[in-house]
C-alpha cells in the first residue's frame, strides 16, 4: 500500500528563516499519525503545505501517491482538514455553517445531519456558532472536515485550548476513525502524552526538522532506562562513585545513573557495599514519553 501522505525533502522558508527543512513524512492507510513538535516547530507550516495553502520553497508533497501541485483538486476531494483555530461564520448557526460548505462542494443534504450526530452537535445545531464553546466550535470544524466523506483527515491541534474532558472526547473520537470509518488521520499536537493513547505512528518535528518517525514503542526503545539507587549518605556515596569514573547525579536524596547494563549495575552495588554504604533500593526507571520528547527536542537545541 502506498503512502496517503508522502513528503519529499519538503522545505519552506519565511524570509531568511528556514521553518521546515527536508521533511520526509510518510503516513500510511489506517494510521493515526501523531505529528508532534513544540510551539513554533513548523507543524502548521507543514500542514498548510500539505493542503496547498502555501507552496514549498523546495521539495514536494504527494497525497494518495499523486503530486499535490498538479493534482490539487483531485486529491483534495479525499481530504478533510482543520487548520489551527476553527473557521466559522459566527452569525450563522452550526447547521448553516455546514450548509455553506455543503453547497460549496455540492454534497447531498443528508450529510449534514450525519456529521452533526458524528460529532454530537445535533442538539446545538440551530444555535448561533458565536454562542458555542471552544470545544463545540472545534467539533463543528471536525464535522465540516468530515462532510465530504474523506479518506484522510488532517487536524492541526484539534485539542488546543480544550479542558481535559474535551481533550479526552476528541481523542476517543479520533481513535475510532480508522477502525469504524476507514479514515486515516494526521493529527498535530505539542503534547506527546496526548498522542500516547491515540497515535499508531508519530513524527516528531523540532525546529523544522523531523527528528523521529516511527511507532511509539520504537520511540520508547530509543531511550535507555536510568537506574535509581537508594543509599544511606547519598552525598558521600556520590563522591565515591564519581571518583571511580561514574556519571552520577543526585536528585531528592537518591542517586541516578544513565544507561547501565546488568554488569555495571552489579559493579556499582558491589562498590557501594564494600565502602560500607547501606543500599536499600536499586530500581530501573523508564523515562516517560514526555521526558523522551523533551530530551529529543532539548538535545537539538544545544547543538
Amino acid at each position: 500500500m502506498s503512502n496517503l501522505i508522502q513528503t519529499i525533502n519538503l522545505t519552506r522558508r519565511y524570509g531568511k528563516q528556514i521553518v521546515v527543512k527536508d521533511l520526509n513524512l510518510e503516513v500510511k492507510q489506517g494510521e493515526v499519525y501523531g505529528f508532534l513538535g513544540p510551539n513554533g516547530a513548523g507543524k502548521t507550516t507543514t500542514i498548510r503545505m500539505l493542503l496547498g495553502l502555501i507552496r514549498p520553497t523546495f521539495g514536494e508533497v504527494k497525497l494518495f501517491g499523486k503530486p499535490l501541485n498538479n493534482h490539487r483538486r483531485e486529491v483534495l476531494w479525499r481530504v478533510g482538514a482543520l487548520v489551527e483555530s476553527p473557521s466559522y461564520y459566527g452569525h450563522l448557526t452550526g447547521r448553516e455553517n455546514l450548509e455553506v460548505t455543503r453547497r460549496l462542494l455540492g454534497l447531498p443534504r443528508e450529510r449534514i445531519d450525519e456529521v452533526l450526530s458524528l460529532v454530537r452537535l445535533t442538539k446545538a445545531a440551530d444555535k448561533k456558532v458565536k454562542k458555542y464553546s471552544l470545544g463545540m466550535k472545534q467539533r463543528l470544524g471536525i464535522a465540516s472536515a468530515l462532510l465530504g466523506k474523506p479518506d484522510l483527515l488532517i487536524l492541526d491541534e484539534p485539542t488546543n485550548g480544550l479542558d481535559p474532558a474535551g481533550i479526552q472526547e476528541i481523542r476517543e473520537f479520533i481513535m475510532d476513525l480508522p477502525k469504524q470509518y476507514g479514515i486515516s488521520v494526521l493529527v498535530s499536537s505539542h503534547l506527546l502524552s496526548e498522542m500516547e493513547q491515540m497515535a499508531t505512528q508519530v513524527g516528531i518535528i523540532h525546529q523544522g526538522k523531523l527528528i523521529f518517525q516511527g511507532s511509539i514503542t520504537t520511540l520508547q526503545k530509543k531511550s535507555r532506562p536510568r537506574i535509581r539507587f537508594g543509599v544511606g549518605d547519598p552525598r558521600e556515596a556520590q563522591h565515591v562513585l564519581q571518583s571511580r569514573g561514574w556519571q552520577v547525579s543526585l536528585q531528592e536524596g537518591e542517586l541516578w545513573i544513565d544507561g547501565l547494563d546488568r554488569n555495571a549495575t552489579a559493579q556499582i552495588v558491589e562498590c557501594l557495599v564494600k565502602e560500607h554504604f547501606s543500599v536499600y533500593r536499586v530500581e530501573e526507571v523508564k523515562p516517560s514519553l514526555e521526558e523522551i520528547f523533551l530530551r529529543l527536542t532539548g538535545k537539538e537545541e544545544s547543538l
Binding site: L53, R55, L76, Y89, L92, E96, V100, T101, L104, L105
Partner: protein
C-alpha cells in the same frame, strides 16, 4: 459556480448587507424630499424640463453615495471571510480559487444591481411625490438608476480586491473613502469619476453615458478577472 453563489447567499443571512442596500436609496429619497419640499417653486422655474431638474439635484449626491456604497459592500463581503478565518478552510476545499474569487465578485455585482433597481424605484417615487406631471419619463428612471451603478464597477472590483488581500478593513475603507471624495475631481479618466460621467443628464458638460457605461462594465470585468488571477496565486498564510 451556481453552488458557490448559493453559498454566498446563505452567508449574508443576518448581516448588515441587506440593510445597507436600502440605506443609499432611502438617503437619496429623503434628501430630495427635503430639497424639493423647501424650494420646489425655485427649482422648477429654471427653463429646463422637470426631469433634468430632478436628476440635476440628485447628481450632487448620487455618485458619492454609489462610490461609498460599493466600498462598504466590498468590505463587508470580504470582512465576513476574514472574521470567520474562512480562507484557510475554503481554499483547502477542492474548488477552483478563480471561481471562489469570481463568486465574490459576482455577488458584489448582484448587490449593486439591486441598488440600481432600488434607485429606479426611488426616482419613480420622487417623481410622483413631488408631482412632476406627465409624461412620466420611465426610460430616464431606468437609465439614472443603472448607468452610474454600472459605471462604479471598476471601483467596486478594485475595492473588493483590496478588502480581500488586506485583513484589517480600516485601510481599504480609508482608501475607498478618500478616493471617492477626491479621485474623480481633476480628471474624467480615473474610475472614481465614472459614476458622475455616466449620469444621464444633458446639462452637465460633456456627459456621455453611452461611452462611460461600456467603459465601466468592461474595466470592471477586467479588474474582476485580474483580481481572481492574483488571488489564485496568493498563499494563505493566515486565517
Amino acid at each position: 459556480m451556481i453552488r458557490l453563489l448559493a453559498a454566498e447567499r446563505l452567508k449574508m443571512k443576518g448581516t448588515w448587507i441587506p440593510i445597507l442596500l436600502f440605506l443609499g436609496p432611502i438617503g437619496l429619497i429623503l434628501a430630495m424630499m427635503v430639497d424639493f419640499g423647501l424650494r420646489k417653486e425655485y427649482l422648477l422655474q429654471q427653463n429646463t424640463d422637470n426631469w433634468t431638474v430632478l436628476i440635476g439635484e440628485a447628481s450632487m449626491l448620487l455618485p458619492l453615495m454609489i462610490l461609498l456604497g460599493a466600498t462598504l459592500l466590498a468590505s463587508l463581503l470580504a470582512e465576513m471571510e476574514h472574521q470567520a478565518s474562512a480562507w484557510k478552510h475554503t481554499l483547502a476545499l477542492p474548488l477552483s480559487r478563480f471561481k471562489i474569487y469570481g463568486s465574490k465578485g459576482i455577488q458584489l455585482i448582484g448587490l449593486l444591481i439591486i441598488v440600481a433597481i432600488l434607485l429606479v424605484l426611488s426616482f419613480a417615487f420622487l417623481w410622483f411625490w413631488i408631482d412632476l406631471g406627465k409624461p412620466v419619463p420611465w426610460d430616464q428612471f431606468l437609465k439614472a438608476g443603472f448607468y452610474p451603478v454600472l459605471a462604479v464597477l471598476p471601483v467596486a472590483m478594485l475595492q473588493l480586491w483590496l478588502s480581500i488581500i488586506i485583513r484589517n478593513q480600516a485601510l481599504p475603507i480609508f482608501i475607498g473613502v478618500v478616493c471617492s471624495l477626491f479621485g474623480g475631481i481633476h480628471t474624467k479618466w480615473l474610475p472614481w469619476a465614472y459614476p458622475i460621467n455616466a449620469i444621464p443628464i444633458d446639462s452637465l458638460e460633456k456627459n456621455n453615458p453611452a461611452f462611460w457605461v461600456p467603459v465601466g462594465i468592461g474595466l470592471g470585468l477586467l479588474l474582476l478577472i485580474l483580481g481572481a488571477l492574483d488571488f489564485s496565486r496568493r498563499e494563505v498564510k493566515g486565517g
